[in-house]
Structure formats: structure tokens, C-alpha cells
């Protein structure tokens, strides 16, 4: 009868509530295994989707969570791709996992170098500088024909079986399994980063950079860290593409790739962890289907989709769904 009144709120519980692993997440990660059984002829495409998803996830760290903008994120993707590709093609380093780590490490270093400039500017200047860095790297790779193969692409990559067992096959079983495993591991790391005190401080910067110094936050340091992290994951995604296709085309560094990954993120919903994943799936499947009908016409549909999403779902598809769910709950 006279037991002490329970604390109305448990603050730690509230925080735990927000970061807990949801049932829907388990469903999602089980669902992405379906192609193995349902559409085995599409595994090559599925592998590309997983790679695009990882690339979009890496961009989400800076665009969605920290409020930076980048129109040149392909610079890290391509740098990782060439690193992994050159390791195999020129040095004969064919072991995939260490090759992938090397790709991530190379892009991390490039991220560290460029972050010096990037965290000092914002808005239009940031868009232009990130774009400029990407164009610069594109032209460097183009000119270094002897090393990179220029616009013929980098050939002669040959990747050993993953873990010494899984051969890269023509149908993409290994490619998809490998890409998916890497995506999942990176996702878990990024999820932890987002749900950490560091992740909260990133959201603080995004929400109000003016307030951050007034609560004692060293903003530039935080932005540098997340920029380097984002570069690393983008490099891993690029490395994955090089390894699974055993080829690196110059377009890994292209402006188009930078723009497409941003489109995927915006479509899915930036700052929502799953936005990049959902965006990558929709973008890549739509391109595959629509380009099958008429390759030229695909951009018409993409443009239409983008305009409609921005007008009606400014927070992306996942943002729209979340809004709908909260309205239904509010009515109850």
C-alpha cells in the first residue's frame, strides 16, 4: 500500500528508449537477405546497392547529422576505389579485407588533410570547395594515365577469395554477401557513433552552431572528427566497388557520383540513419528498371521523383513516414 511513489520519469530510460534496437530494424536487415533466394539473377545489382548505401550512410554523417554540405564526396569514394584497385593491380595485394582497410585508411588520410580547410568554411563556400577538391582529384586521376588507366579505367585487379574461402563468382553471390557484411558492420559502427555523446554534439552543431561555443563545445574539432570518419567510410565503399567489380572507372571520382549520393540521401531522408539505405535502394532499383525501358529517359523520371519528394516530403521518404506515424499516434 505505502510503497514509495515511483519516479515519474527515468531520464536514463528515456535516452535508452531513443537508441534501442527496434524490431523493424531486425526486419529490415533480414529482408535485405531475401535477394539471395528470391532474385539470384540480380545479385550484382544488389551488391552495387549495398555499396551505394554505405556511401550514402557515410555522407549522412556530415550532411544529415552535422549540417555540413558536400558536393564532392566522391573524392573519398574514388580515392578508396583506386587505393584498393591499385593495391591489387600494381602491387599484387589481392587479399580483400586488408585491401579494404587500406582503402578506408587512405581516404581517412585524405579526409584529415582536406578537413583543415573544410571545417573553416560553410554554406556556398563549402559546396564549392568540396566540389573543387573532387574535380581536382578527377583530373589528377585522368592525367595519371600510366597509373590509373585514365578514362580507360583501371584493369588487372584480381581479388582473392574472401576469408580464403568465398570466391568472387559471376553471379555475385560472394560480391553481395561481402558487400552486405561490410555494410552491416559499418552500419553498426555508425549507429553507435550517432547514439554516443559525440553524436549528440554533432546534432547540436546541426541544430544551432551559435549555441555550441556557449556550452563550451569545441566545434571545429568535432566537425573534423566526423569529416574524417565520413571520408573513411566513403573510402571503404569505394574499395568495395573496386574489389567486387575488379575494375575502377574514372567515374568513381566524378561529379555525377557526388551528386547521385546526395540525391539518394535526400530521397530517403537525411539524418535518419536508414535514409541513405532506403534512398540507395529506391534510386538504384528505379534506375535499373527505368533505364531498362529507355536509358536516356531515366533522368526525366529521377528529376520528377526528386521534385515531388522535395515538395511533398521535405524530410525524405522516411521523414514522411515518421510524420505520418506520429500523426496517427497523436490521434489515438
Amino acid at each position: 500500500m505505502s510503497e514509495p511513489a515511483p519516479r515519474s520519469v527515468d531520464p536514463q530510460g528515456l535516452l535508452r528508449q531513443q537508441v534501442r534496437w527496434r524490431l523493424l530494424e531486425t526486419v529490415f536487415w533480414l529482408a535485405v537477405l531475401i535477394p539471395f533466394f528470391a532474385t539470384p539473377t540480380y545479385l550484382v545489382l544488389c551488391s552495387q546497392i549495398a555499396i551505394a548505401a554505405l556511401f550514402a550512410l557515410s555522407l549522412d554523417l556530415i550532411v544529415g547529422y552535422s549540417g555540413l554540405v558536400s558536393l564532392g564526396h566522391a573524392v573519398f569514394f574514388g580515392f578508396g576505389a583506386y587505393t584498393a584497385g591499385l593495391l591489387s593491380a600494381k602491387l599484387g595485394w589481392n587479399e580483400p579485407i586488408t585491401g579494404l582497410l587500406a582503402a578506408g585508411f587512405a581516404s581517412m588520410l585524405l579526409g584529415l588533410l582536406t578537413s583543415i580547410i573544410v571545417v573553416r568554411i560553410s554554406h556556398f563556400a563549402l559546396i564549392m570547395v568540396t566540389l573543387g577538391l573532387c574535380l581536382l582529384m578527377f583530373e589528377l586521376a585522368n592525367q595519371a594515365h600510366d597509373l590509373t588507366g585514365g578514362d580507360d579505367g583501371l584493369q588487372g585487379i584480381s581479388i582473392s577469395p574472401v576469408l580464403g574461402y568465398f570466391n568472387f563468382d559471376l553471379y555475385g553471390y560472394t560480391a553481395f554477401g561481402y558487400s552486405l557484411a561490410v555494410l552491416f558492420i559499418c552500419f553498426l559502427i555508425i549507429r553507435r557513433v550517432i547514439n554516443s555523446p559525440f553524436g549528440l554534439s554533432l546534432r547540436g552543431i546541426r541544430e544551432n552552431p551559435r549555441r555550441m561555443p556557449a556550452i563550451g563545445s569545441p566545434m571545429r574539432g568535432r566537425l573534423r572528427t566526423v569529416y574524417v570518419m565520413s571520408a573513411t567510410f566513403a573510402g571503404i565503399a569505394g574499395g568495395l566497388l573496386a574489389q567486387t567489380t575488379e575494375f575502377v572507372a574514372l567515374d568513381a571520382l566524378s561529379f555525377q557520383r557526388s551528386a547521385e549520393v546526395l540525391v539518394m540521401l535526400v530521397l530517403g531522408g537525411a539524418g535518419r540513419l536508414y535514409g541513405g539505405l532506403v534512398g540507395a535502394i529506391i534510386f538504384m532499383v528505379a534506375r535499373d528498371q527505368l533505364a531498362g525501358l529507355n536509358p536516356q529517359y531515366w533522368y526525366f523520371w529521377l528529376g520528377l521523383l526528386l521534385v515531388l519528394v522535395i515538395i511533398f516530403l521535405p524530410n525524405g521518404i522516411l521523414g514522411g513516414i515518421a510524420h505520418l506515424v506520429s500523426r496517427v499516434r497523436a490521434k489515438k
Binding site: 537508441v19 557513433v193 547540436g204 561555443p213
Partner: protein, 251 residues
């Protein structure tokens, strides 16, 4: 020397081109004092707060906090040393909940906000502390709602909560009741009055009733310089103050 001042400014000058916004500002605030900073619009009150907190760099003069010269130190590092401000215009995190926002400020103070490999809920002590601050300001009930959904008055309280989370030695409140109806501003200042007497407070306020009720000393600024500083009784009877400032209201 138990009464060593916590915050001292010596001869602070600042001008933008030919416009002098601060001229020879010298202050000395003892521990636990409640200072009101008053003056007509454009007198340079907010500018002074910006100078003290490092958001503006003075052309001349020194700022000393607890015996340490902080004139050359950046805003974030001054906060770490206990020199904290709030803003006249809400400067909050619209899509964070109050709990998250205060938790962020607590984590920054504890030097934990750079940690990316541990999950936020594992910081139990920080969560309890953040919640405790929200409780003292009667915001606990709303702690898990996005800040943008809070009533305006609650957002003003959250401004103060973010300041308190930094465990200030000196708290500079820039018009804490700005935009709050006169009928509610007393309530807001009750919350300010409830702040630990260990903390030195300097607040800007226009409502003279509130100023005389809550300030132990008053500084009057006019046109970028300090006109006079004294107890409420001295200020109330000071002829020049009546003429320059009170006169405009009471006349």
C-alpha cells in the same frame, strides 16, 4: 581576502569604426553577487556580455576570471572555466529534447562529449544531473518533447538550464525575461533567484520593478560607458540616472 572578486574587467574598449560601443568598462563582481545591468537601448549592454564571453574581442582592456586573465581565450574555453552566458533571443536546439540539450551541455562540461564509442544512455550520472537541472526549473515534465514544441516561457527557462549545466562561476543572463509578458516575468525571476548563491549573476533587464527586487547591485550603462554603479537605493536616488534613464520612463 575572502572577498576576492570572481570576475574583473579593466578598461574594456570596443568600437566599430567611429561607433564606440564600449568605453573604459571596469567591473568587479564578487562571488555570489546579483548584479543588474540596465541602460537605454543601444547603451551597449549585450555588447558588454559579448566582450566578457569572448564573442567579441575588445580593442583594449583585460578580463580576469578567478584571478586568471582570459582576454585571449576563446568563448568555448571561457565556458569551460566557468564564464557562461544565456541569450536574449532563444538560442536553443529546436529538434533536440530539453533532456538531450541539457545532457549535451553536461557532457561538454564533463569532457565526455567527444566520446563516440560509448552509447549516450550509459552515462547515467550525466542523465540524472541533466534531469535534476530540468526539475529545479520545472521543466522535467516536458523533458522528452522537442524543444520547438515548448511554450515560449519554457524555452526561456531552458536557456537558463543550458547555462546552469555548464556549472558556471559567473552566469551572464541577457534579458532572461525578454518577450515574456510582464505578468509572468516575476515567476521567471523567481527561478533566477533560486539559483545557487555560489554563482555570481549579472543580468540585463528593463523592468525596474524586477531589477529592484532581485538585484543586490545595479550598473547603469549609457552610450557604451558605465554611468554609475551602486545599490538599488543609491541608483533610485541618483540624479543623473533619474535624468538619463529613469526619467525617460517615469517622466
Amino acid at each position: 581576502m575572502t572577498d576576492a572578486p570572481v570576475l574583473v574587467t579593466q578598461g574594456l574598449d570596443k568600437s566599430f569604426g567611429s561607433l564606440v560601443v564600449a568605453s573604459d568598462i571596469s567591473l568587479s563582481l564578487p562571488k555570489g553577487a546579483r548584479y543588474a545591468l540596465i541602460g537605454p537601448n543601444g547603451a551597449g549592454k549585450t555588447t558588454l556580455i559579448n566582450l566578457i564571453t569572448g564573442m567579441l574581442t575588445p580593442d583594449a582592456g583585460r578580463i580576469v576570471l578567478g584571478g586568471e586573465d582570459v582576454t585571449e581565450i576563446g568563448p568555448a574555453d571561457r565556458v569551460k572555466r566557468g564564464l557562461v552566458r544565456t541569450f536574449q533571443i532563444n538560442t536553443l536546439f529546436p529538434n533536440l529534447t530539453p533532456l538531450e540539450a541539457v545532457m549535451l551541455a553536461v557532457c561538454e562540461r564533463r569532457g565526455e562529449a567527444g566520446t563516440w564509442w560509448r552509447s549516450l544512455p550509459s552515462y547515467g550520472a550525466a542523465a540524472e544531473e541533466a534531469y535534476g537541472i530540468l526539475q529545479t526549473l520545472r521543466l522535467a515534465e516536458f523533458c522528452d518533447r522537442p524543444t520547438r514544441q515548448l511554450a515560449y516561457g519554457q524555452q526561456r527557462l531552458l536557456e537558463i538550464a543550458l547555462g546552469l549545466a555548464a556549472k558556471p562561476k559567473v552566469l551572464l543572463l541577457d534579458e532572461p525575461a525578454a518577450g515574456v509578458p510582464k505578468s509572468e516575468s516575476g515567476e521567471l525571476f523567481e527561478a533566477v533567484a533560486g539559483i545557487s548563491s555560489e554563482i555570481t549573476i549579472l543580468f540585463i533587464e528593463h523592468d525596474m520593478d524586477v531589477v529592484f527586487r532581485f538585484a543586490s547591485r545595479i550598473i547603469v550603462m549609457v552610450a557604451g560607458r558605465i554611468l554609475v554603479e551602486g545599490t538599488p537605493a543609491e541608483i533610485a536616488t541618483h540624479p543623473e540616472v533619474r535624468e538619463v534613464y529613469l526619467g525617460a520612463h517615469h517622466g
